[in-house]
């Protein structure tokens, strides 16, 4: 057990992501085990078709027992009722429903499906207030999960 667990796990995940990336996902930058940047393409036949987004994963030393911090970064943050304009994402598996059986790839798939099921491109109703007061790390937000319809 020379390597700490997060490093062992992330090297496996990285290899797997490089070899079998989920559809629409590509690695932009993953040169260490602290921060990875991934590309996420809007799925064909959805409101986000043709759009390209960037996701940033930050891992702590307790990954995967603790969840990574995941936000959208770059110029194009998806316009979606559960995604704030500062890139914060309201998705329960990223916070209090995290389980170590989740992976970077499975999170990308969850986000992909969250985008694909969207029927109306709009920001969360409280976007302005939230973005003004939110901390940089969305894990420091007390999320109240409301519904799964968009």
């Amino acid at each position: 057990m020379a390597k700490p667990m997060f490093a062992r796990r992330l090297s496996k995940e990285l290899k797997d992501l490089a070899m079998n990336p989920p559809a629409g996902v590509d690695i932009i930058d993953a040169n260490d085990f602290k921060v990875w940047k991934l590309g996420l393409a809007g799925a064909p036949g959805t409101l986000y078709e043709g759009e390209k987004f960037q996701l940033e994963f930050s891992f702590g030393p307790n990954y995967p027992l603790e969840s990574p911090q995941v936000i959208f970064v770059g110029d194009n943050v998806p316009i979606h009722p559960h995604i704030y304009s500062n890139g914060h994402i309201c998705l329960d598996v990223l916070y209090n429903h995290w389980s170590p059986v989740q992976t970077v790839a499975s999170i990308c798939l969850s986000l992909q499906s969250m985008l694909s099921s969207c029927t109306s491109k709009e920001r969360p109703p409280d976007n302005a207030t939230y973005v003004k007061t939110a901390k940089a790390n969305p894990k420091h937000t007390s999320w109240a999960f409301h519904d799964d319809t968009v």
Binding site: K12, A144, F145, D147
Partner: protein, 311 residues
């Protein structure tokens, strides 16, 4: 610790609904997980509230204090220590403990971090294997069960990549356990990474068992909840407390029987009530004995099990 504070409902195109006044953390309504769900961060304009960072740093301070006061698994102590906890308590507790002490002489505390059942179960089992000199079949059986748990997890559609590290740490610890001194076993279970990996593996084993035996256990779920949802919310996430269903699942999946001593304040009884959890196969060793007090599990040592060398 957390109280549900959110109300299910769709997002209104107005400002976020203010949470109840004591809201500091949010717990989602039962029945939502892997699927993306919408939310609003909680806001409260009317009252002075702690910032998220203050709340988090307070929570961390509580955690640190807990960690310093209570190792993940503690040294075993004489049962008189349990009696001392209830010195000024009700006669119901004192009588039960006095009677319990006729047949049990020691106990070992497991940290109250929501993982206490899994950690207590794993420690008690591995310790039993370690101390069972002259009964190598206990070790062989245990190793076989853990090796086969990999297939169970795959059958339950867990991704090898996601569980392999926990599985390997658990298997390796169990393979080495016969060469451990009692002190080494204790320090292994006090090591965060190893100890939590083992907890995680046992959580996944319980979850995989429930998922692969849905027809038997789904009827016990709350209306509308799927086994996937239940397991993801209550079994697979670290720190989620265990319910009886997890004890049943783990017993059956590992073929290790458990007896749980329920210590309650029930005035009408002077004896602790023992509840057995039995595997489907004939038990090949005496049950592990756990002490249950509402919300918490510790390990008990039964005199007749004659475990020599417990530290």
């Amino acid at each position: 610790m957390h109280q549900p504070t959110s109300t299910p409902g769709s997002l209104a195109p107005t400002a976020a609904t203010p949470p109840p006044t004591d809201a500091s953390t949010a717990v989602p309504p039962i029945g939502q997980q892997v699927i993306p769900s919408g939310a609003t961060p909680q806001q409260n304009q009317d009252e002075v509230q702690l910032t998220d960072e203050q709340i988090l740093s307070q929570m961390q301070a509580i955690k640190d204090e807990e960690a310093n006061a209570h190792p993940l698994v503690d040294v075993s102590v004489d049962l008189t220590e349990l009696a001392m906890e209830y010195e000024n308590g009700s006669a119901a507790f004192r009588n039960k403990i006095m009677n319990l002490a006729d047949t049990h002489d020691r106990m070992r505390r497991s940290r109250g971090d929501g993982n206490c059942f899994y950690r207590a179960f794993a420690f008690a089992w591995f310790e039993r294997v370690m101390l069972a000199k002259g009964k190598p079949e206990l070790h062989t059986n245990a190793v076989k069960v853990i090796e086969e748990s990999k297939d169970l997890l795959i059958a339950a559609q867990f991704e090898l990549l996601a569980f392999e590290d926990f599985y390997l740490v658990t298997l390796e610890t169990l393979q080495n356990v016969v060469h451990f001194t009692p002190e080494e076993l204790l320090s292994t279970f006090q090591n965060d990474e190893v100890s939590n990996s083992i907890v995680m593996h046992f959580r996944l084993v319980a979850s995989a068992f429930l998922k692969t035996h849905q027809e038997d256990y789904a009827p016990f779920l709350e209306f509308g909840q799927t086994m996937e949802e239940y397991c993801s919310m209550h079994v697979e996430a670290m720190g989620r407390e265990s319910e009886e269903m997890m004890l049943i699942a783990l017993t059956k999946a590992t073929h290790v029987s458990i007896e749980v001593a329920y210590l309650s304040g029930n005035e009408n009884a002077d004896q602790v009530n023992f509840l057995p959890f039995l595997p489907d196969t004939a038990p090949y060793m005496p049950p592990l004995v756990l002490l249950y007090r509402p919300g918490h599990y510790d390990i008990l040592y039964r005199k007749s099990h004659c475990l020599e060398g417990v530290v």
